[in-house]
């Protein structure tokens, strides 16, 4: 399962920011619609990936990020939950993807 590899990557990259003796209470992840990551599947995979690490039993918060497109023609922004690469204002396809690709660790709560 794809989300298991993503969950493992979250643990691997997050661990480097946790000091010795600290425990992670929660971890906040941002996933863009264009990342292909399914929120529910990631939540399902995380407990397995975090077993035996400082993330064991920490709360995973997954925030979905919509697609934000910048139209190079009319300079307006289009926000969309679906992946449609099209400016909703002038229907041009010359758009730049501003948001929606990311899989980011946004913050962690530790103690």
């Amino acid at each position: 399962m794809h989300e298991l590899s993503i969950a493992k990557a979250i643990v691997d990259s997050g661990i480097q920011h946790v000091k010795q003796g600290q425990k992670v209470l929660s971890i906040h992840i941002k996933v863009g619609v264009l990342s292909g990551v399914v929120k529910e599947a990631l939540e399902f995979a995380f407990p397995e990936a975090s077993q035996g690490t400082v993330f064991e039993n920490s709360r995973l918060e997954v925030e979905k990020v919509a697609l934000v497109l910048f139209c190079k023609k009319c300079h307006k922004l289009t926000r969309s939950e679906d992946i449609v690469i099209l400016c909703q204002h002038c229907y041009d396809t010359e758009v730049e993807i501003k948001e929606g690709k990311e899989i980011l660790i946004q913050k962690m709560e530790v103690e």
Binding site: D12, L104, M108, E109, V110
Partner: protein, 227 residues
């Protein structure tokens, strides 16, 4: 005194603290992919990553391609979760191929390619990814071109249903065109679905069985070799 547990330390370590980060979860893979990319560039190698759902015809396409191209035109790395069936098939068609068995992983990642760099001698490397429409698209390998396959038997709307892979593809190949007469497959619908998620995609339609449209694929490969 610490309000949480009554210990004497005012600024105890176990105070709750929020660490603000902005770290890319795929950084490690992207970093290795970047190194692979440099390796390909330094060795004059063009790498193509073939992705599709299981059974869309990746191996069949490469079998026919291997028979068409002269010996030592390209090498193939083929990823599967289990078995080396695809490598065996490709070897029989004359290709120089190495199997990567990914076991529990449903996609190739950059480190798996990094381990096989010593195998690559030809100017063109074709990587057949694990058959899966979702996972391979998140893991860059350092390739210069991403190619997505879509067989006519899968229906017209796969690009919209699995947009990430099709969005990223430089080339989209509609395979098994020989089966169109037996299906209710609508080319216009399929192209609309592709263009919704990837308005600028180059699209070709072919059959590895009859050879129809294969020339367009060979043209693409030759262009890849010229740059």
């Amino acid at each position: 005194m610490c309000g949480d547990c009554g210990c004497e330390v005012a600024n105890a370590d176990h105070f709750k603290q929020t660490i603000h980060l902005e770290i890319d979860v795929l950084k490690k893979n992207n970093h290795i992919a970047h190194q692979n990319h440099h390796w390909f560039h330094d060795h004059g190698v063009t790498a193509i990553n073939l992705m599709s759902s299981p059974g869309s015809g990746k191996t069949a396409l490469l079998e026919r391609t291997s028979r068409e191209f002269q010996e030592s035109a390209f090498s193939i790395l083929v990823g599967d979760q289990q078995t080396d069936n695809d490598a065996t098939r490709l070897q029989l068609s004359g290709a120089r191929v190495r199997q990567i068995t990914t076991h529990s992983s449903c996609h190739l990642d950059a480190s798996m390619i990094e381990k096989e760099l010593d195998f690559i001698k030809e100017k063109l490397l074709i990587i057949e990814n694990v058959g899966n429409l979702v996972c391979p698209s998140a893991f860059d390998l350092g390739e210069s071109k991403k190619v997505a396959l879509l067989s006519t038997t899968e229906g017209e709307d796969k690009p919209e249903k699995y947009p990430v892979l099709f969005h990223k593809a430089d080339l989209i190949i509609i395979t098994k065109s020989d089966l169109i007469p037996y299906l209710d497959w609508d080319e216009t619908k399929c192209l609309d679905s592709i263009h919704k998620v990837n308005p600028k995609a180059r699209v070709i339609k072919l059959s590895s069985k009859t050879g129809e449209g294969m020339k367009l694929w060979y043209d693409f490969l030759r262009e890849c070799l010229c740059v």
